[in-house]
């Protein structure tokens, strides 16, 4: 598996898009830091961008990589290699290259700005951690969808729809539910519902770390009570991990049953 990962990664490091993706973060982060005014402001702005952009790019890259390497995958399938190793190798290759582009693009300017000598280092680490998780989660979902759909257009459409659902539609429905059932105590519902969306979960994790949950009112306080503790933090990280494991398990499930 690691050999496939190595070559997928190697193949992707030659791709122009990976550099463009990394360079975009580099430019964005640098300008937010030096022109925007300070570490904590840059972290909040970056959070908003990362929460939307990382899932989108991971989705697009995952689907595109799978479809583009389809014939090559067939060549690999005829080699004495386990099926699952081929697909996990490719998936991890995509996820790792995305993660490294993000890590370098966002990390370098922060290091140069001196984040290591600042109390913001923990907030920054949570931001990066969340970015890494989102790369892993959404490229796994994308791979799973691409594996299940032979038709490229359908696969692409579905993957983008899933992203749109988690990034936009879910929040809309969530808010609608909150305002509709305003008369009931909704705090546990709010916590439960955010666990089902990796983007929301990531957002809450960062906001809690930034200590601005007071902005979220009473619900924020309840969430802070739950997730602000070490147990809550571990719980949310566990759920994020589950969000990686589930689609990865889906990839395995489809891969061993699929005809090529």
């Amino acid at each position: 598996m690691f050999k496939i990962l190595k070559y997928s990664f190697y193949d992707l490091t030659r791709s122009r898009w990976m550099y463009i993706y990394g360079a975009f973060y580099l430019l964005l982060t640098a300008s937010l830091l030096w022109l925007g005014g300070g570490l904590s402001k840059a972290i909040i702005s970056l959070m908003n961008i990362i929460l939307v952009l990382v899932p989108l790019i991971a989705t697009m890259f995952g689907v595109m990589y799978y479809y583009n390497s389809r014939e090559f995958t067939e060549l690999l399938l005829a080699q004495p290699i386990r099926r699952i190793h081929i697909f996990f190798g490719q998936y991890l290759g995509v996820a790792c290259s995305l993660a490294i582009s993000l890590l370098l693009g966002v990390g370098l300017p922060f290091v140069l700005y001196g984040v290591f000598n600042s109390p913001e280092i923990w907030n920054f680490s949570v931001l990066l951690l969340v970015g890494l998780f989102l790369s892993l989660i959404f490229s796994a979902i994308a791979f799973f969808i691409a594996l299940r759909n032979e038709n490229r257009i359908k696969g692409f459409g579905l993957a983008i729809l899933v992203w749109l659902f988690f990034a936009v539609i879910y929040d809309g429905l969530f808010l609608l539910a909150l305002s509709q059932f305003n008369d009931y105590p909704l705090e546990s519902f709010a916590i439960g519902a955010s666990l089902f969306n990796p983007i929301d979960l990531s957002r809450i994790l960062i906001l809690l770390k930034l200590d601005i949950s007071a902005l979220m009112g009473y619900t924020g306080a309840v969430i802070q009570n739950f997730m602000g503790t070490l147990l809550g933090m571990a719980c949310s990280l566990g759920v994020l991990l589950l969000w990686v494991v589930l689609p990865a398990w889906g990839i395995r499930w489809v891969a061993v049953r699929k005809d090529f």
Partner: protein
């Protein structure tokens, strides 16, 4: 070497293989023929474990294909469409397959044979179709495996490369290998094949030597023999569809 028993495979409602029994015991070149959609590629891919059979059993060198992967060490496979990661060079790809598969392949003599030397450092995305096919051949045949499976090996090859390929296959046959080829080029079959398997609508319609096939259908060329098989099948189909009419015709003739 390869045994296929009662192999069945459907894609959705379409039954592609309807109970194939086939054995490749004697070394030599076997051509799998049949019209488009007759199940040639599905059969080959089932042997390779890429298509998972609904029913039946395939064994390669005694090892069951189902769930296995190590048996593929005994097979060299040349796929129909040669597409590789575009950002890798030919040399890197050869190294990669060697790295993934292990063992000691001999790519050098194939590179020389097909004149691929000048292209080794080039990215695969920049190669022409024919050159890619040559790279494909080098990759597929650089291992000295006892079974070779070639899916349309002649596509995109220029006449010189075609001659070299034929020469190579003859040499491999001399070594006692099992070579399975699908192709639409009848000249290639007549020149190279020891045995022919003719697939039609998911069944094996004929299996035997070239001469036997020609004699059976009273044809002096392979093309004609195959045309006759297809014609007969069509007539049979028509007769089935219009049973009464056919019976009336027969009665009239009597």
């Amino acid at each position: 070497m390869i045994t296929i028993e009662k192999l069945k495979k459907s894609f959705g409602s379409q039954e592609v293989l309807k109970g194939i029994n086939l054995e490749f015991q004697r070394p030599g070149i076997t051509a799998i023929l049949g019209p488009n959609g007759s199940g040639k590629t599905t059969l080959i891919k089932s042997i390779l474990g890429m298509v998972l059979p609904d029913k039946g059993r395939i064994r390669v060198g005694g090892e069951d294909v189902k769930g296995g992967w190590a048996y593929r060490r005994q097979i060299d496979y040349l796929p129909q469409i040669a597409r590789f990661p575009e950002n890798l060079t030919v040399q890197e790809l050869i190294r990669m397959i060697r790295d993934l598969r292990g063992g000691r392949p001999d790519a050098e003599h194939l590179i020389r044979r097909f004149g691929l030397g000048p292209f080794l450092g080039k990215r695969l995305g920049n190669l022409s179709g024919g050159t890619r096919q040559k790279a494909n051949i080098v990759l597929a045949l650089m291992y000295d495996s006892p079974v070779l499976i070639l899916d349309e090996p002649t596509s995109g090859l220029d006449p010189v490369a075609m001659l070299r390929l034929k020469e190579l296959l003859r040499q491999e046959k001399e070594k006692g290998k099992h070579i399975i080829v699908t192709t639409h080029i009848m000249g290639f079959v007549e020149e190279m094949a020891d045995e022919v398997v003719f697939l039609l609508e998911g069944h094996i319609h004929f299996q035997g030597g070239l001469q036997e096939l020609k004699e059976k259908y009273g044809a002096n060329s392979l093309e004609l023999a195959i045309a006759r098989i297809l014609q007969q099948e069509e007539l049979g189909f028509k007769a089935n569809g219009h049973g009464e009419k056919a019976a009336a015709l027969v009665l009239k003739a009597l």
